[in-house]
């Protein structure tokens, strides 16, 4: 099986950078701050593949670079270096036919696309759910309207059809249809997360980014959101990148996991192997720290 997307050498540096940044930061120094030039290397030379239909976990402490990684892949921030290419079979690749070399299965580097092309690619290919629903939703606009906005971005124009699609998605994510005209501001935290998920799925993405989606929810609500994600994953055959500092969430959702520390991937492997036979010093500490 070929990867759906391939990431190579992905790097995000805040600051001017110097030629000693690489050597002076990372897990062995326990920092991502370069002592020589003061730059922060939030993500440093990350390389990995995401396969079709798989859920890949990303764990690590606060500040390890997990959320930066998601923002780079979702084209919210510009990468300082590296490449991301997508398999020809991916949704939306027809929009960018010129991006695929004649005999190659993979696109050229998506990180070098124009802003407009990246937005097109994102609308066709990706969905995202943030920890903070304020980032993913307009709190004052109706829940149906939030979804319609996303559908407009993906090229939908027929109002009745958009409304029908919004109703279907809200039903799947267990929001009462009678409340679809209410703004998310009226909803509880768990409901807001479910509206975010409905919105993220509205364009039938192949890749879903989940950034700490259950953090801050109480346990029973967390369980419901996780069950929903699990069911939707098999229904939509989604590839997911699941960012969490909660090993329980990763264990439940992901077959493979990467461990990040100070902007680096220090270890990756099958999730049960990472949890039961962690190799890296930091992963051992992380697993031993579990409640």
């Amino acid at each position: 099986m070929q990867p759906l997307i391939r990431i190579r050498g992905l790097t995000k540096r805040f600051g001017s950078g110097c030629d000693r940044c690489l050597a002076a930061t990372g897990p062995e120094h326990d920092t991502n701050l370069c002592p020589h030039c003061g730059s922060v290397l939030a993500c440093n030379d990350l390389s990995f593949d995401l396969f079709p239909g798989e859920a890949l976990g990303v764990v690590g402490e606060s500040g390890s670079g997990k959320s930066t990684l998601v923002r780079l892949l979702h084209f919210e921030w510009e990468a300082s270096a590296g490449s991301m290419d997508v398999h020809r079979s991916a949704a939306g690749s027809h929009l960018l036919a010129e991006m695929f070399p004649e005999n190659g299965d993979y696109s050229r580097n998506l990180l070098l696309l124009s802003h407009f092309q990246r937005r097109q690619m994102r609308n066709a290919l990706m969905g995202i759910v943030y920890q903070n629903p304020h980032l993913g939703l307009r709190m004052g606009v109706s829940s149906g309207g939030n979804i319609a906005e996303r559908l407009l971005g993906a090229g939908w124009r027929n109002i009745a059809k958009m409304r029908q699609r919004a109703a279907e998605l809200l039903e799947k994510t267990e929001i009462p249809i009678q409340r679809m005209d209410e703004p998310p501001a009226n909803f509880s935290g768990g409901m807001q997360q479910r509206v975010q998920i409905a919105k993220a799925l509205s364009n039938n993405p192949m890749i879903l980014f989940l950034d700490e989606v259950t953090t801050g929810l109480d346990l029973s609500v967390q369980a419901r959101v996780l069950d929903l994600i699990r069911n939707l994953r098999s229904e939509f055959n989604l590839s997911m990148l699941v960012v969490s500092h909660d090993l329980g969430v990763i264990n439940l959702l992901c077959q493979r996991t990467m461990v990040m520390k100070a902007g680096h991937i220090v270890e990756d492997g099958l999730t049960d192997q990472i949890l039961q036979d962690p190799q890296h010093r930091y992963t051992q500490l992380l697993v031993a720290s579990q409640l």
Binding site: G269, D272, Q284
Partner: protein, 225 residues
């Protein structure tokens, strides 16, 4: 079907000053297709470690685990890329221990049905029938079929666990004391099910704490430690 050569596993505990613990050393054996190998040895000898290395829950330190896969050809499970291991686990290789580790908030019937649906490519109706008959055979009361196994007694959980492991007829099945703490009658039922599974062609490697049991179900025994 599967050949283990000089398998050695050592854990390095970084948080205890890089302390090294050797879990098993130079384990070598061979299991023919549809064979059943028992692993014997004192507690702590590394029997479970060998099974976990084969399933890749542990990374082998050195040595090889050569497996003739139906879909991937001859592979070394010690070094095979993760993605291929996931695929082999999904299509061919099952693992069952005495501890039920299932997804929370899923009913007993669905726990057993899920691998049949996703791995055997049959309809839900067929899967339901097979799962129901397995649970009935393992004497799980019918009124528990739609309850969550987390609330079951230890013995019931263990039987649901076995039903899930055998339901999809894996090609290779690793058993880590699956019958520990089951009553005599239940053990008999489980052994009958394993026997049938072997007749269908499943290769097995198992750990059983009871020496009599070990001798009666396996066709060869490898002593560790």
């Amino acid at each position: 079907m599967i050949t283990v050569e000089n398998l050695t596993k050592t854990f390095t505990l970084h948080i205890l000053g890089d302390k090294k613990i050797e879990a098993c050393r130079d384990v070598s054996f061979r299991v023919p297709p549809a064979g059943f190998l028992g692993l014997a040895g004192p507690s702590g000898a590394g029997k479970s470690t060998v099974l976990k290395c084969m399933y890749r829950t542990y990374l082998a330190g050195s040595g090889a685990i050569r497996y003739q896969s139906a879909t991937h050809g001859m592979v070394d499970l010690a070094t095979l890329p993760d993605q291929a291991v996931i695929d082999i686990r999904h299509r061919e290789m099952g693992y069952v221990s005495q501890f039920l580790k299932v997804i929370p908030r899923v009913s007993a019937l669905n726990v057993v049905m899920e691998p049949i649906v996703s791995r055997n490519g049959v309809t839900r109706a067929v899967a339901r029938k097979r799962a129901t008959s397995l649970l009935e055979r393992l004497r799980i009361p019918a009124h528990l079929f739609d309850a969550y196994p987390a609330t079951f007694s230890g013995g019931e959980q263990q039987r649901v666990n076995i039903a899930r492991a055998v339901s999809w007829q894996p090609r290779l099945l690793l058993l880590d004391e699956p019958t520990a703490s089951l009553d005599q009658d239940s053990v008999g039922i489980v052994l009958d099910i394993l026997k049938e599974l072997r007749q269908e062609g499943t290769t097995m490697i198992g750990i059983f704490h009871d020496a009599m049991l070990l001798q009666s179900v396996t066709d060869s025994v490898y002593h560790i430690g």
